[in-house]
Each structure stands twice: as C-alpha cells, then as structure tokens.
Symmetry: C2
Subunit: 381 residues, 2 copies
C-alpha cells in the first residue's frame, strides 16, 4: 500500500433548495464580491439565476456576471473571465452549472491571481500560488468537479484539452441539489453515467496495488450509478435516484477512490480528451466509445480484475462477458460505442493518435504507451 | 434521501515514517507551542517519543508534556491538561497514542479556550466556541478519532462516559503510520476490529433509509477488517494488512458512512458505554458482548437488511446464521461475547440499565428504548 496524503476541505451542502443559501455560505468565508459564471441563458428562464442572485443580495454580496460557457469549455472564455475578475476586483468566483462551468471557474480563479498567461498552469510552466475563492451551485452531477481541485479546459487555438490541478482550487462550498438535475436530458444523463464509470474503471483495472476497500468502494459507485440511471431513464423525477446518483458521482472523483492505490493511470480519459477536443463530441459520448475498446485491448494485463468486474457488477463469469455487457448497457442508455456512430471516420485515427501522444508527453505519461498502441485501441473502437 | 452537510477538513498523512514530519505539519498551520499528550511510558522506551520530540525541535516548536492517559480516559486527566495548557499558553495540543489519548486531547483543546467547566460541553450546558488546534500521531487504529470531531471521556466521579462533538475539534493533521501498530497486542487488535464493526452495524441496521452506496461502503469496511484481522492474527508484521485495516477504521467513523442516511441511531455504543464506565472493561470487549445480543433482539425490525448482511459478509442465507457467524468470529479472534466472560454477574443488569438510561436522557435518546427493553438486550448477553 502506497503512502499518501488525504485532504479534501470542500464543504458540500446537499439537498433540496440549498441554492437559496448560497449567499450565506459565501458570507461564511467572508467573501464580498463574486464573479457569477454560467453556461446558457436557461438558468435565467427557469428561475435558478434569480434564486441565486436574491440570496447574494440578501447577504450583501455584490456580483458581476459572465455567461456563455460551453461544453468542452474554452480558454478564450476563461481569459474573458480573468479580465472581468481583475477589473472588478472580485474576491471569489461562483459557478452555477455543470462540470464545464466549474472547470472554467477554477481556471478563472487561478488566472485572476497570476500576472502571466493562465495556460502556463496547464502546461506545467508555472504552479498556482494563490487563487480567488471558488464556490458552486451544481446543475449536473458527473465530473466530481464540485469536490476536487481540478479543471479541464480546451485551448481553442491549439485544440489541446488539458488539466489544471492545484489545492487552492478546492471549492470552499458546493451546493448539490438533486432537484436541479431534473432538466438534464436523457442523453446527458447517459453521458454522465459513462463519465463516472470511466473515472472509476481506469483506476480499477490499471492499479498495480488496489486495496480491497477501494475496490469495493468503486463497485459501490458503479452499482449505484447503474441502478439509479435505469430508474431515471423511466422516471426523471425520482428524487432518491437523482440524489444517490449525484452523491456517487461526487465520490467517484473527489479523491476517495485513490488512497493507497499504486501505479494507476487514466488511460481512457487521456484518449478521450483528444476525441472531444478534435470533434467537439460530448466527453461522456467519447468515453463510451473508448472504454470498451480499451478494456478489450488491456484485459490480459489484469485478467483476474476483469473477471471480478464481470462477477460483481453483472453476475457474469468471464472478462469478455463483462465487457460485452457494459458495452450493451452503454448502448441501451443511448451512448455511442463506436467511432462510426459519432461520425468519426477511420481515416482520422492518425490525427487522434497525434493529439493523444502530444498530451501524454506534456503529462510525462508518454512512457505508458507507444503511438502504435494508442492506434490499436482506436482500431478496436 | 436526507439533506446533509458534508465537511471534513482533516489532513491525513498516511504511511511509513510520517511521524518524523510532525513538526513540519504543525508549522504548516503556524502553531508554535504544543502540549504533547500520551498514555503509558512505552513511547519513551520504543523511540517514538524521541522521533516526535526531534521533529518538533527541528521545526522550532516548543512543547510541554502530559503522560498517563488511560483507556476509558478520565475527566480528571483532562482537567490536568487544561491547567497546563492555560499556564503554559500553548496554541495546539498533539496526541501521540490511540483513541483514548486523542479523546483527551480534544477535550483539553476545547477546555483550554473556555472559562467554565469543560464537562459543560458533554452535558449540553455549553457549546464549543473556540479550541486549540488539534494534531495527532496515531499508534492504534480503531476509533476514527484521527479524522472526526468527537471525543469520549469518563467523568471519574459520576461514572458517566459521555461524548463531546464540535467542528473546531477536527484534527488539523493526523499521522497514521501503520508500522506504529506493530506493538498492538492481539487482544487490542480484536477489540479494534469489533469497535469498527459496531460503528458500522449500528448504522447499517437501524437506518430507515440507507442509500445503496452507504450500504456497500459499510460492507467494504467490514470485509476489509475481517480479511486483514485474520491476516494480522497470524502475522502482525504484514504491512499491507495493517495499512488496509487502519484506513478502513478511519473511514468507518469519519462521516463517510452517513451522508443521506435517515433515522439511524448508535444503540450498541450507547449500551456499551455503560459497561466500560461501570466495569472498566475495554470498549471493544464490551461491544462484542452487546452487539450480537442487540442484533438478535433487533433483527425483526429490519429483517431484509439482516439477511443481506448474512449473504454479503458471510455468504449465508438467514439473519440468524449471519448473527451466529459474527458471534463465532468475535470468539475466534478472542473477544468476549457474554457478560459472564467479562465477569459481570446477571445481578448487575439493573445497575447497567440505570446508567444507560441516564445517558440516553442526556442525549435526548430516551424515546428510543424503555428501561425494560434495554434490560431485554442485556438478558440476551
């Protein structure tokens, strides 16, 4: 078992109508002026923006706004946010939205306290020393972003989708109200479920030492996600299903699956980031294409664990049966499982391999796979 | 699913030789003078005290000492600690030991910043407003105390064993080095395993709503504890077994099993505290007596969950088989399962019931059980 430091100071306020207290939560941390970041104008139509704005006003917290964050969030929008944050001298950034909004918020929070180009943090040219306080009201559960110190942003110019990580970026408080997920489409529900599976399975299969506790914790997350996704496909208003789904998604990427694990890597995420960067498909859709292919390619390296997966998650006997069943489930909930379904022709594979390999080098992960091996995985997709 | 706040800011430094950095960790939080609290003089003989003292000196952290904390820690020792902490104007309290040491440390940390009697906090006469910073180096994993804001102390005069809870008492940093557990006797290993089981099973069986995630998380903890205890009974030096045991014990009582759970209570702990308060037996030994008895008494209230327990933990079919097997396992690892084995005669039952009921009233839990019902459970033991 590997030595580790475990530290996660984010306070989660989970439950019905908690967004109405966001002003109070921000006041608890003595912040006075926030940049409120969001995606589409939907939150103005459905009343969420007003609830949040009222809570800020009631607690005498000033705010300025930045809307228009898109899925696969863009560096150009982050620059815009940093400019406003500096000009308006805000002391906190509040995201109201899903993972992409919170990714952008974290980059803005780090960039606003830095004199250079915020992209420096993504390419290891600089380390975050200080950041504005981060707060969030989540409308979509999938990324774990509400309780971790990471953010993924795409450089619009270079088409690199890279990660920013710094302990200063743990949100102070994140509101998770499962009722706010009611407006999530079935497509995005499926993509979210796939994303959670990928966060867990990369670790589950690649770890050289996986404590029993972590192994079973991951199985708990996967079983919760499968059960609740199935319920929500039928009845999107089932509160308990939404709530259990949301908490499982937080626990999938907030550090709880990691303590003591040795030698794991995030292979499918690495490959997928190239797909969504190059073809602007949803991250979850890209993952459901890459994951079963990668599992088939990788399974002989850790066959016993693939057999355990088949047995514990699906009650099946062989590794191959487990992978087939997972792929079938992704199809059933409406997420694509081949490059073809996402309209990405086979001729694009070399371009994808280039992008992946470039990213792997930046992360010093290029020793893990050769370009040929990445191409092999993609051929299987 | 119940609304909840999840917040646990403790930093865990887990692994080999981490105690050598304790001075640095304390410096990270800008503390300058600590009261170092410990139990027996063993830590001076085995070199742990010297390692800790050297690390404090290297980091220019002054310290004063207080040894002699005993199992079922006493309020009189806490008063002694508060007096020293005030006189010496320390700004932090560092516990080096097991659960009892850390219980005492938390009470001292709260009492040193309070003008009244620290016992006020235990009987709900006052609320903690401020506390000295808490740090720990753990030598025994069982109580979860290293990552929670609670402490249990016994009032020597009234024989009440009560609980103190306040968010200010989360340790800033706790060192968990599984190698320091090497000197734990087989008896205490067994008592620790039982304690973890009880922390989990009270919740597992009494919850009116238990999310699947929490249910499986508890099963992950129990299976880890069973597997590693069995290994450690044979080979106390198996590092990975010690490490997996230690982390499971932290996760059993640091808040992770609770989010979203509705309507649970800590029945067996309530009853056991009377046993260890009145007869000074080890807390874990008391629990292995109370737990199977309570399970037999309670099982019809939640039969499906008792059947799940039998199946998931032992691969058995009925509730009764599961309880019998658990009781047999407690025996096998050397923890008593009847009052008789602990030399507590049946004639003592009324005295125990009195003590339990008095505690239940203080905690406003007296609506849960009548005195007759508590006596019924004890008769089964």
């Amino acid at each position: 078992m590997k030595d580790f430091t475990f530290y996660n100071p984010t306070r989660i306020e989970f439950g019905r109508e908690k967004e109405k207290n966001i002003g109070q939560y921000i006041k608890d941390y003595r912040n006075k002026k926030v940049l409120l970041v969001y995606g589409s104008e939907r939150i103005k139509r459905d009343g969420l923006f007003e609830k949040v704005a009222n809570s800020l006003k009631e607690n005498n917290i000033e705010f300025v706004e930045l809307g228009g964050v898109v899925s696969n969030p863009l560096l150009s929008k982050v620059y815009e946010g940093i400019k406003i944050a500096k000009e308006e001298q805000v002391d906190a950034v509040l995201g109201v939205g899903g993972g992409s909004v919170l990714d952008s918020v974290k980059a803005i929070a780090a960039g606003a306290k830095y004199d250079g180009d915020v992209w420096d943090f993504f390419i290891f040219k600089a380390q975050v020393q200080d950041a504005l306080a981060v707060f969030s009201v989540m409308t979509l559960a999938a990324t774990g972003s509400e309780m971790n110190p990471g953010g993924v942003v795409m450089n619009d110019e270079t088409k690199e989708k890279f990660v920013l990580l710094a302990p200063q970026l743990y949100p102070k408080v994140s509101v998770v109200n499962p009722e706010l997920m009611a407006t999530v489409s079935k497509d995005y529900l499926a993509y979210s479920a796939v994303d959670i599976f990928a966060h867990c399975l990369d670790l589950y299969f690649t770890a050289k030492y996986l404590p029993l506790y972590n192994c079973m914790l991951i199985e708990a997350i996967l079983k919760t996600v499968m059960r609740t996704t199935t319920i929500l496909m039928e009845n999107p208003n089932d509160y308990n299903a939404k709530a259990e789904f949301a908490w499982a998604s937080t626990m999938a990427l907030n550090g709880n699956t990691l303590p003591g694990v040795e030698g794991n890597s995030y292979d499918t995420h690495l490959i997928e980031h190239a797909l969504s960067a190059l073809y602007n498909i949803a991250h979850g859709a890209g993952l459901s294409i890459v994951l079963p292919a990668w599992m088939r390619w990788y399974k002989e390296n850790n066959l016993a664990q693939f057999e355990r997966f088949a047995k514990e998650i699906f009650g099946l006997n062989t590794a191959e049966e487990g992978i087939n069943k997972l792929e079938a489930w992704f199809k059933e909930i409406g997420s694509p499982v081949t490059l073809e379904e996402a309209n990405i022709p086979k001729s694009e594979i070399p371009a994808i391999v280039d992008n992946v390999y470039n990213m792997a080098k930046t992360w010093q992960m290029d020793t893990l796979y050769t370009e040929e091996q990445i191409a092999e995985v993609l051929e299987l997709a």
